[in-house]
């Protein structure tokens, strides 16, 4: 094999590698959404986050507008403190009385945060707190409520 052919073939090999990395970065993984601008952060406190995990999606009317960045426990208010990152195209779109609720996608799916806008004129800014929150539905509490209401009724 003359050295020219070898060089060409190794060049083709490198091109195939870059092609593979391109496919892996763009189509397989979520690099495209990571490189989009981070936007602004909001904090929401919940009594119970259920199965919410970091990087769960934040949706308004079902459209993904951001992600859950971090979840921590606040020992002063005894609530879970969830940090959301909202995409920068949605700056000044959510009023200060927006409700953040934890929903489940489908029946057995993973949990996400849904934002329901309110009616206020002032908009949420960076590092604001969403005051109106609705915790995740915990199955045991639901059963307990059903049993309690049944025994109370009869």
């Amino acid at each position: 094999m003359n050295s020219r052919a070898i060089d060409v073939l190794v060049g083709v090999f490198m091109l195939l590698f870059f092609g593979a990395m391109f496919v892996l970065a763009m189509k397989v993984s979520n690099l495209t959404s990571l490189t989009s601008n981070p936007g602004y952060t909001l904090v929401a406190k919940f009594e119970n986050i259920g199965g919410l995990k970091p990087r769960a999606s934040v949706a308004a009317s079902g459209v993904k507008v951001g992600e859950v960045a971090a979840i921590s426990y606040d020992p002063e208010t005894f609530e879970a403190s969830v940090t959301l990152t909202i995409d920068e195209t949605f700056i000044d779109t959510f009023p200060t009385d927006t409700t953040a609720s934890i929903y489940t996608a489908g029946l057995l799916g993973e949990q996400y945060i849904g934002l329901d806008p309110g009616a206020e004129i002032d908009m949420l800014q960076n590092s604001d707190e969403i005051t109106l929150t609705q915790s995740a539905i915990v199955l045991e509490r639901l059963i307990g409520q059903v049993l309690f209401s049944r025994s109370g009724g009869s």
Binding site: I6, V10, A20, V23, L24, A25, K27, S29, S33
Partner: protein
């Protein structure tokens, strides 16, 4: 009885001695890497021998592994109504585990054994001693280019394996089994993180490339210079490389995930 214990102890001491020789060999080889900057043609030729020649087996295997993964994943997930997660399963399995490991095993079998046989034959036909007598350092001329080529080629091949495996999974999952195409890609993109999953897969590829190249070149350079010695060195390369890949894969997975 005493004789058995003597032989047993001696064989273990010989193994440790061999490991020490291998480490010194590795350090000498790493020291010789600097000279490759002035002679890139050596590296290119070895990239061709290790990387390009392994390309066909890696691509074909990747395609079939991806297709099998999609098939098996579909059969299990359909029971839970979650067959649109085929993409996630295929991508994560390939990128995190099968890409680096299977490529490493294929590389050890194809390129690793070729490196060992070539260097073993050079030793047996006294070409290495000839080079030394001409004041050409065999570390710089023969060993270091092959080592760097193997170190670089393996993660590249692993990436190609994963990419074509995902495409193979799409062929079976979407075109044959009827999974929704947009669900295949979107579920996969949601679950696969570029830095954690693809990045860690590449790191695994680099580690495996380091170890397989080291084992292959050392076994060739340290073999008994007869035809039987070369043949046993070649089989030792494949066996030790495979064991090392699987063992390191467990360690790396435990650390990374």
């Amino acid at each position: 009885m005493i004789g058995f214990l003597q032989r047993f102890g001696r064989s273990w001491i010989e193994k440790v001695e061999r490991l020490g020789r291998a480490t010194l060999f590795l350090l000498h080889m790493l020291g010789a890497l600097g000279s490759l900057v002035s002679r890139p043609s050596l590296l290119v030729k070895q990239l061709y021998a290790s990387g390009v020649m392994t390309l066909s087996i890696v691509l074909v295997s990747g395609l079939f592994v991806g297709m099998v993964l999609a098939l098996q994943a579909y059969n299990t997930l359909i029971d839970f109504g979650q067959e649109n997660r085929v993409g996630t399963l295929v991508a994560l399995t390939l990128v995190r585990e099968l890409g680096p490991v299977v490529t490493g095993l294929l590389f050890a079998g194809r390129a690793g054994s070729a490196m060992t046989a070539e260097i073993g034959l050079m030793k047996a036909t006294e070409q290495l001693s000839g080079l030394e007598m001409m004041a050409v350092d065999p570390y710089k001329r023969v060993f270091a280019p092959r080592f760097l080529a193997g170190f670089l080629a393996l993660p590249m091949l692993a990436a190609m394996f994963s990419a074509i495996g995902v495409i193979g999974g799409h062929l079976i999952g979407v075109d044959v089994l009827g999974v929704d195409a947009s669900a295949y890609w979107s579920q996969m993109q949601n679950a696969t993180s570029f830095y954690s999953d693809v990045g860690n897969g590449l790191i695994k590829g680099l580690v495996f490339g380091f170890v397989v190249s080291w084992i292959a070149i050392f076994e060739g350079a340290d073999c008994i210079p007869t035809s039987e010695g070369v043949s046993s060195a070649t089989t030792r390369t494949v066996v030790y490389s495979s064991l090392a890949i699987l063992g390191l894969d467990f360690l790396l997975t435990a650390v990374m995930f």
